[in-house]
């Protein structure tokens, strides 16, 4: 296979006062490489591949990942799962009341989290915030994201006592770290054109965000808020473990008491709730995108 452009030209410099004169022709060697059906990967790929493989093996070993052990333990796992049946719905009223509390916690935690995240995200979007604000906001979000929600829950339980309020506060703070970062990235990805147009009409910074950025990012922001809500419903069940309200405490108690029928009923109810929320979210997402 021969190159149609045997001559290789070197890019020239840019004369002062004139447009840049970058040579549009491909170098002959590069053209030849691109024309080949099968080409040797680049050196960085050849070096990177074994490094990635070694990292993976090292991590498998470190995490004590063992398929054989899983196979051997499958019988015990089957036995555990068999104990969950039949589910015992005799305390369905209690389960539904706690599930409702979990749902309410998730609603409040998501709304507060999403609204606060929106403000934080504006400060953490590189195309909106000045550097002196952008970097500290990102650092704060990184710190929040590094702390598990359970730690926040314990912190707020000690501050405001047992109950769903502590859970909501933990959820809200956790949301800022996670969803705030995603909101900021959604804002950074908007088309620059409308933003420039808003600057061009003499809009203020707030107006540029309100009209140039948010309307473009809105579908993603809504979608991520729904994702946050789904996560918060699941998260609220965990927060209950430390007494921060919701169905988590009932779940833990059932496990400790070896009340597998009740445990099974709780899990089934959680699955129904989460599935219903997933379906509802999917419906909303389809409408907004």
């Amino acid at each position: 296979m021969t190159s149609t452009e045997p001559r290789s030209r070197v890019a020239t410099g840019t004369p002062a006062g004139g447009p840049s004169a970058v040579d549009p022709m491909l170098a002959a060697a590069e053209r030849h490489r691109l024309e080949r059906a099968f080409r040797m990967p680049r050196t960085r790929f050849l070096i990177g591949l074994p490094i990635a493989a070694l990292l993976l093996i090292w991590s498998f070993n470190g995490a004590q990942f063992n398929f054989v052990k899983l196979g051997e333990g499958a019988v015990n796992m089957g036995e555990f799962l068999s104990r969950l049946f039949p589910p015992d719905f005799s305390k369905l009223g209690t389960i539904l009341a706690l599930l409702l509390e979990t749902f309410q916690m998730a609603v409040v935690g998501t709304v507060l989290g999403a609204v606060l995240s929106l403000f934080v995200a504006v400060c953490a979007a590189s195309n909106i915030a000045p550097k002196w604000l952008y970097y500290p906001t990102r650092w704060v979000m990184n710190i929040i994201r590094s702390v598990p929600d359970l730690v926040f829950a314990l912190m707020f339980v000690s501050a405001v006592g047992l109950g769903p309020f502590a859970g909501i506060l933990a959820m809200t703070l956790g949301s800022i770290g996670s969803i705030g970062k995603i909101f900021a990235e959604a804002m950074e990805q908007v088309d620059r054109g409308p933003v420039v147009a808003m600057q061009a009409v003499g809009a203020s910074k707030r107006q540029v965000v309100q009209y140039g950025v948010l309307p473009q990012a809105a579908p993603l922001l809504t979608s991520y808020s729904l994702l946050l809500f789904e996560g918060n419903v699941r998260g609220a069940t965990i927060l209950g473990l430390v007494g921060a309200g919701g169905i988590g405490l009932e779940l833990t108690t059932a496990m400790r008491m070896y009340d597998y029928g009740h445990l099974s009923a709780i899990i089934i109810c959680i699955i129904v709730l989460v599935t219903a929320i997933d379906q509802g979210s999917a419906l909303i997402r389809r409408r907004i995108t």
Partner: protein, 274 residues
């Protein structure tokens, strides 16, 4: 340098006598713009008078867009004087810059509308600079709404007022963008390649609309184009840039394709627009 060629069939709408009587709304003297070490404009002089439509021609990378941007403080001016609608563009604080921009309507190649918002809201966005406190909650006054609808009537798409901008054709979107610029009650309109994304028929209609605005409202319109026949058919005056300097300047009626050909001689296709 002015190249004068044979007479053109298009009659100027603004006579030279009328222009001499009016004060220019844009005055550029010895403008220099550089990005890092690269000089993009060198010694550019330009005047825009009320009511005239001036076509800015030049090859890709000749500095057309940079010249447009420098008039509203979007390009780093390194030398010369730029005065637009009474503002000294080289010496403005942030608030003053916003005021200047609110007085200069801008039309872009890619329309730059907010796709999900309605046509009406897109036009209303032109009034953001004086929208007042009601706008904190996303509102606009009835007076603004009435004016936006009148402008949509003028550009012929009032029936699409509540449709999202993204549902409109390219030509319709550019009309919305023009209505948004008019919503600013501009003293000058700058249109940077406004018809480059449109087919020839739509391009003609959009340029005709801009020329109508220039002559009826007395607003100077500076429009950058890369199609010579469009410039010859729709402008009162042509300014030609080549490698950051003005090579051709004259009344359209006195220019033809041959006179403008030097603008594109020995130019290699560029991938970066200045």
């Amino acid at each position: 340098m002015t190249l004068v060629a044979g007479a053109h069939e298009v009659e100027p709408r603004v006579t030279t006598a009328e222009l001499r009587q009016a004060l220019p709304l844009v005055t550029v003297r010895g403008l220099e713009v550089a990005y890092d070490a690269q000089r993009v404009l060198a010694g550019v002089d330009l005047e825009l008078f009320p009511g005239e439509m001036v076509a800015l021609l030049g090859a890709s990378g000749s500095g057309k867009s940079t010249l447009m941007r420098s008039l509203t403080g979007f390009a780093p001016i390194t030398g010369g004087a730029v005065r637009v609608a009474g503002h000294d563009v080289t010496n403005l604080r942030r608030g003053q810059l916003r005021t200047l921009r609110s007085e200069v309507g801008q039309v872009f190649q890619q329309f730059n509308l907010i796709p999900r918002l309605s046509v009406l809201t897109n036009v209303l966005a032109g009034a953001l600079h004086d929208a007042g406190p009601i706008n904190l909650v996303g509102g606009f006054s009835s007076a603004h709404r009435r004016r936006a609808l009148e402008l949509l009537d003028r550009v012929g798409i009032a029936h699409k007022a509540l449709e999202p901008a993204r549902s409109l054709s390219g030509g319709q979107q550019q009309r919305v963008a023009i209505a948004r610029a008019l919503m600013q009650r501009p003293k000058v309109i700058l249109a940077d390649e406004p018809v480059a994304s449109l087919d020839p028929k739509l391009a003609d209609s959009v340029l005709e609309l801009l020329r109508e605005i220039a002559s009826e409202d007395g607003i100077p319109v500076l429009v950058s184009l890369h199609v010579l026949p469009l410039a010859l058919a729709h402008s009162d005056r042509i300014v030609g840039l080549r490698r950051g300097e003005i090579l051709v300047s004259g009344r359209t009626s006195q220019l033809d394709a041959a006179a403008l050909a030097p603008l594109y001689e020995d130019e290699e296709p560029g991938d970066d627009e200045h």
